[in-house]
């Protein structure tokens, strides 16, 4: 459906205008930034027209009937036992035909769009592994230089114009991967190897969110999505593949010591150091991310310190333990983490 791409994107302007001033548009199927979402929006608009016309027919017919109701002044008319219904019989056939025609059109359009979504599989140019945990996202890319899988968390970067195959797996319960601006959702099911093909074409920041109830903090399991140019994407991936930056000053060195020799290292990885715990998100380049705690807090020093000291206050029920540190040590840890770009 590449040829009609621009037409579809043009038609998308109409509902986009509905968003102005009301909705942020970074997590919405009405503002497509990907081919899949654009196809789905086209289908939605077709359905809106067809269903709208059918609804107006129903309401119009009902209105005609109600005119007769309110014109009728007699309290209790004699019942009509065998009314002549020939016109109505023909109208019923017409009505049923209209419904059949409408449904056939919509089912056919739906099938065509489904084929378009399926066609993306032939154009896969990139593999991304996304593992859903309660309540965060582990995201891994293959580093073209070394061939190793490089992990990050809660932030997905995609090159524009290329189709990425997102391989979905769950470490615990059923989740659902959803970036509405780019494509529809796909459930992440333990025991099942699901995958979704996405082809983003608009640059910018978007937001994804878990879309299958997965426990107490399902509401706060989001992730950031950045659509880069292919060159920017390659540069970003190369940065992510590097090991952690060494601490640049004594305060950061103190923070480094606490992170790698203390409680953090039991659950988190900082590549190139002694911290090699797998349960929690990879922290090697945490400061390069836009948000922390699965998309709910902006990445800045205050939020880092608050999250480390008291995660239950920000995301009650989270598995991240509360790490109690002396104020000086807490500052040092935050200072060190801020340097991990």
């Amino acid at each position: 459906m590449g040829g009609t791409g621009s037409m579809r994107r043009g038609a998308a302007l109409v509902p986009v205008m509905l968003l102005v001033g009301a909705c942020s548009g970074v997590q919405s199927p009405l503002a497509p930034a990907g081919e899949q979402a654009a196809d789905q929006l086209w289908l939605f608009q077709l359905m809106l027209w067809v269903c709208g016309i059918l609804y107006l027919l129903v309401v119009g017919f009902l209105g005609l009937a109600l005119v007769r109701v309110f014109r009728n002044t007699s309290r209790l008319a004699e019942p009509e036992l065998a009314p002549a219904d020939r016109t109505l019989d023909r109208s019923l056939l017409v009505w049923a035909s209209i419904i059949i025609a409408g449904l056939t059109l919509l089912a056919g359009a739906s099938f065509v769009v489904d084929r378009a979504l399926a066609a993306a599989q032939a154009r896969e140019a990139l593999r991304v592994r996304v593992t859903a945990h309660q309540w965060w996202w582990r995201i891994a890319y293959r580093d073209p230089a070394s061939g190793r899988w490089v992990e990050t968390a809660n932030e997905l970067h995609l090159p524009a114009g290329r189709t990425a195959r997102i391989e979905l797996a769950s470490a615990d319960v059923i989740h659902s991967f959803w970036v509405p601006n780019v494509a529809g959702k796909m459930d992440v099911i333990p025991g099942r190897a699901n995958a979704i093909d996405v082809t983003p074409h608009r640059l910018g920041w978007f937001r994804g969110q878990c879309a299958e109830f997965c426990g107490v903090q399902h509401a706060k399991m989001a992730f950031d999505v950045k659509v880069d140019t292919p060159a920017e994407f390659a540069a970003w991936l190369a940065t992510q593949a590097r090991s952690a930056a060494a601490p640049a000053d004594p305060v950061a060195a103190r923070g480094f010591q606490i992170v790698t020799q203390g409680q953090c290292a039991m659950c988190h990885v900082v590549r190139g150091t002694a911290a090699a715990g797998r349960p929690g998100p990879d922290l090697t380049h945490i400061a390069s991310r836009r948000s922390i705690a699965a998309g709910i807090l902006s990445m800045n020093r205050g939020n880092l310190q608050g999250w480390i000291a008291q995660p239950q206050a920000l995301k009650p029920g989270t598995m991240m333990p509360a790490v109690t540190l002396e104020p000086g040590d807490a500052d040092a840890v935050a200072h060190y983490l801020e340097q991990l770009k």
């Binding site: 615990d172 797998r278 239950q312 333990p321």
Partner: protein, 162 residues
């Protein structure tokens, strides 16, 4: 129109029963989430905080998850060799809460000192989980562990559930 029930019947059901229920409210299944963690280890075998953890299914279950996350299941899990399985030993020699806590926090023959490396609240939860192990049927424990097969085990992670 028939009277459906006498006054006494209606009074009994509307007033007495809810009162009875309120009195026997069950706390074993309670789930309080929020920023209130113990900051110190248990003080003696009758520390008042012990009941909050030992008698609460949510805390015990959280202890079970951290049991995997901190790598305990690598040696003490349900598929561990017999000499390391905790349940039979605990069933034979039941120990107090603070004794188990101390055994975990000052665990011998492991590369790290858990007292410094595992937060206090999580040590409480793991202790509660370990002490609850003898009461869990082995096949149920195995079934629970199968559900959690995709969870990381300390520095190892076998990958998601495929």
């Amino acid at each position: 129109m028939q009277r459906y029930a006498s006054f006494t019947f209606r009074a009994a059901t509307s007033l007495v029963l809810p009162g009875v229920f309120a009195l026997v409210a069950c706390t074993k299944e309670g789930r309080t989430l929020g920023p209130e963690q113990p900051l110190t280890p248990p003080v003696g075998a009758s520390d008042k905080r012990i009941g909050v953890f030992q008698n609460n299914l949510y805390q015990v279950s959280q202890g079970g998850r951290y049991f995997s996350w901190y790598g305990c299941a690598g040696c003490h899990g349900s598929t561990a060799p017999n000499s390391h399985d905790l349940a039979p030993d605990l069933a034979q020699h039941p120990r107090a809460f603070d004794a188990i806590y101390a055994m975990i926090a000052d665990h011998p023959r492991v590369p790290v000192h858990y007292r410094d490396r595992i937060p206090t609240e999580q040590l409480w939860q793991i202790t509660a989980y370990v002490r609850a192990l003898p009461a869990t049927k082995p096949e149920l424990r195995r079934r629970q562990d199968l559900d959690e097969a995709g969870e990381p085990q300390g520095a190892q992670w076998a990958g998601p559930v495929r």
